[in-house]
Symmetry: D2
Subunit: 302 residues, 4 copies
Amino acid sequence: MATHRFRPTRYHNVIGTAEPCLVVADGDTVITDTIDASGLDANEVQAMRGPNPMTGPFFIEGAEPGDTLAVDIIRLTPSRATGWTYSPLAVTVLDPAAIMSRPENQRAVWDIDAEAGTVRLREPPTALRNFVAPLQPMIGCFGVAPAIGQALSTATSAQNGGNMDYRLFAPGTTAWFPVAVPGALFYLGDGHACQGDGEIVGTGIETSFEMEVAFRVLKRRITWPRGETADDIFTIGNARPLDQALQHATTEMLQWLSEDYGLDARAASHVMGQVVRYDIGNVFNPAYTVACRIAKRWLHAT
Amino acid sequence: MATHRFRPTRYHNVIGTAEPCLVVADGDTVITDTIDASGLDANEVQAMRGPNPMTGPFFIEGAEPGDTLAVDIIRLTPSRATGWTYSPLAVTVLDPAAIMSRPENQRAVWDIDAEAGTVRLREPPTALRNFVAPLQPMIGCFGVAPAIGQALSTATSAQNGGNMDYRLFAPGTTAWFPVAVPGALFYLGDGHACQGDGEIVGTGIETSFEMEVAFRVLKRRITWPRGETADDIFTIGNARPLDQALQHATTEMLQWLSEDYGLDARAASHVMGQVVRYDIGNVFNPAYTVACRIAKRWLHAT
Amino acid sequence: MATHRFRPTRYHNVIGTAEPCLVVADGDTVITDTIDASGLDANEVQAMRGPNPMTGPFFIEGAEPGDTLAVDIIRLTPSRATGWTYSPLAVTVLDPAAIMSRPENQRAVWDIDAEAGTVRLREPPTALRNFVAPLQPMIGCFGVAPAIGQALSTATSAQNGGNMDYRLFAPGTTAWFPVAVPGALFYLGDGHACQGDGEIVGTGIETSFEMEVAFRVLKRRITWPRGETADDIFTIGNARPLDQALQHATTEMLQWLSEDYGLDARAASHVMGQVVRYDIGNVFNPAYTVACRIAKRWLHAT
Amino acid sequence: MATHRFRPTRYHNVIGTAEPCLVVADGDTVITDTIDASGLDANEVQAMRGPNPMTGPFFIEGAEPGDTLAVDIIRLTPSRATGWTYSPLAVTVLDPAAIMSRPENQRAVWDIDAEAGTVRLREPPTALRNFVAPLQPMIGCFGVAPAIGQALSTATSAQNGGNMDYRLFAPGTTAWFPVAVPGALFYLGDGHACQGDGEIVGTGIETSFEMEVAFRVLKRRITWPRGETADDIFTIGNARPLDQALQHATTEMLQWLSEDYGLDARAASHVMGQVVRYDIGNVFNPAYTVACRIAKRWLHAT
């Protein structure tokens, strides 16, 4: 149950099978640095090109294909006082007429006030002079190496995780990933100081972070990423269109309710039909992300 | 500002241009009865075949094509003590393998305890003996007559509203619809005692209601339904796939933020990018429904 | 087996249950006039507003809900010497960057030379001075009244047919429609002098026609429109996205191969897997259209 | 302009940056062996696991990122007398009710008669005793290494090509791929003796081949794969849903018509609107494939 302080010197634009940056034991904690989506580090120095340069991969001892890697997100601390976003809204969320009248893409700088827990546009238009967004750190892109030697761009996501941009991947959440290679080979990066549903400007507030996570190897099999917060459990589907991402997430939840909560397909549907919530992680990346979420107060583990 | 108590004697399976059941003035309130999605009334008597028999249409004086009809949802009171749902999950939310192993469709009865504010399965499987859903009434299907003489099935939805199955169409919410014909011709019905996101069993807890709504005619133009709760404003898109419903809702929100909150496309994107929420009304009907929602605390009306 | 020459005086923008314009017997032929998609008649006089004004409805004696109406397309003769199209490509077929750089919508006039069997742009840009399109008449929009009192815009399509814009709905083809109301109530219009796959400029070459069709009532049930040419049989699915239209068409073909060709699901898949062809009717309208087509030489009626 | 006879000893389940199996010059021809989608070679020996083991990669001298690799498909000769398919139809092309009643997946063997140019089921059901499919060889999966170190599963496809399963990738066709890495790194395999549109049983008639292809490096940039046959030019889009694949293919064709045929967006739309054809490569793989095709007789190179 050691804690490792790892300082990366190289980053990755794909999630695949690569030389581990560090070998850790099942149960260990890692504190490490991530650079922002465009490759700017804590000093705003370009440390790597985009998309979403990842820190890693971490080799977790004991993780074997077919296992599940649980990742406790303990702490996400911005390591600089500025972040950036794009504007205006992404073409993926607009009707054609709004695409045609869309202003040009611009980059805006935001000031992060960690003490106040706020984020503000550095040069707000008049109408936004009083707009103060909350500092709500989250991990945009993380996951484990996929099967059969694939190396997947950190712009996209799949069963192994990746660029999901879901705001509940935040401190206090445990994320689960299906292990496909020995050691799992875990990557993380693309931290956001804040982000609404869907990552609909194509970014969150992108910045560098010090991230602290702990690993546990579970000897069980899952198909899609899962997560647990203080209040909820959730499952993730990554695909296009949103319909298919939702189908993956819902099917994975059905599986989870059967395995851990003793609910067959009919019983699960009685609960989900009345209390399920769907969240949209991103509707911007090559694969979209939908979360199927249920508050734990409706469930009784068996 | 009269209040009308209207008792329907006929119902409609399409939303279109039909003989008004009642003419009311701008500002008036209507208290009326709705039967459930399958046509069962407060006495569980089959009053009309499905889908979603509607009460109406109400002709609102002064409403003209190009106007907006605001509908305050004042009260939704179940008019009987039972509701029903389908199980298991709908094929639209499952991966193919789960479709193949899906149990047969069944109808289940729920007991509504209005005083306790709860809904319970009458014959729960063992695993659900302690599952008590909240009584959270909502309107599944309502809207106004569409343009050019169309008569749209109450199974589906479009710009004029219809079968959206969104749980925030609940008491305290004001819904806005684009008026396409003189008098607007407003219909309502398909009340649910409770429903999760997506209407993923193909029903909410379907029951009959006494519904109280008030009408106001706004001399302004909208394209898609809008709504306002105590905390939020939201816009609705109805289409398949979910991606397109989301595009309609997002584009309508962009329009609203420009008109009423002084935010151009770039300023709106800065707010939406950080705080927008997407809800899925239904992912079951011929047209799916997505809501784009923003908490009013982030906005300052101009 | 009479032949009726019917001259319409009114047109319809919806396909629904309306007063028949003519009652005909099972086996009869009708020769009638259609106006173009924007309502221009043979004299280029505006006879009705768009979208796609329909001639009809024709009441076919003996057609009952659950039956099938077979419509032999005998002849489609343009009734004027000009047609028109839009340019450039529709937003539904372009990537976002191409939408952003898209020129403005324009209407172009084409000269129809019925004798030569050609269609030419009246004012071609230099690069198209030698571009001569073939005169290949087809019906853009036709079908029968839908169930439960629906009245569907002629801009869209559904199980009852409608605005499918499929180029094999041409002379020599027999189209089949599922009857939902007594008399079937058949409408037709929106003729095109020529059209590529997908109706990707939002129009074919739109013009007025004299159309000749013959009706037969089949005492059998179908779910989606079907067709037969000299060489092929095909089935139609209408929906969004294209994936779902294709699923409807494919499932309907599976049904047809079982009913008329003695092929169970496995045998049908062996044939379809090797020789099926998919055509895209339109990828422009609210519902897209996909045809699943098989050459009859691969099949042996049982 | 050498001709190389290359006998592979290892195969790849991903298309990415790997050690070249052979270095060839711009203009050279390669004759090589491919094994079937499940890894069976000419002797029906399991030479590699699936999916779609690739022969390659071939390093083409002079090919640089930003260039285009033209691949002339000269000859595809089956190297054994049997192929195999799955039945019944894939879940991706069926309505939910047909998915629920779908028979179990089975593998069927087909006899290839190269002399007769036919393929027959070895054990046909009675209804198919006279069904003889044509021998029409095609390449299911081929392409070049993608950018930024990605290694993409041969189950899917992207801008670099991959598992497109389009029947016009056949002898006589030239395919073009966008080069992303030095040497292009070309892979090929997954030959089919025959396949209908959409690869709707999840396979063509899968067999091993001797394939002969020639390479040319073009100093021009493309975004998506392109192709040319004796009669047609076509462009390829790979994505889900089909709508998006079609948008990619159409946009790429617009670009091609501008570059090589002097047609601006408006002129191109006049031609495409009247004569374009869309083909569906596959509607089975993780990314679907649509081809946008135009007969060359409508075009005049500038």
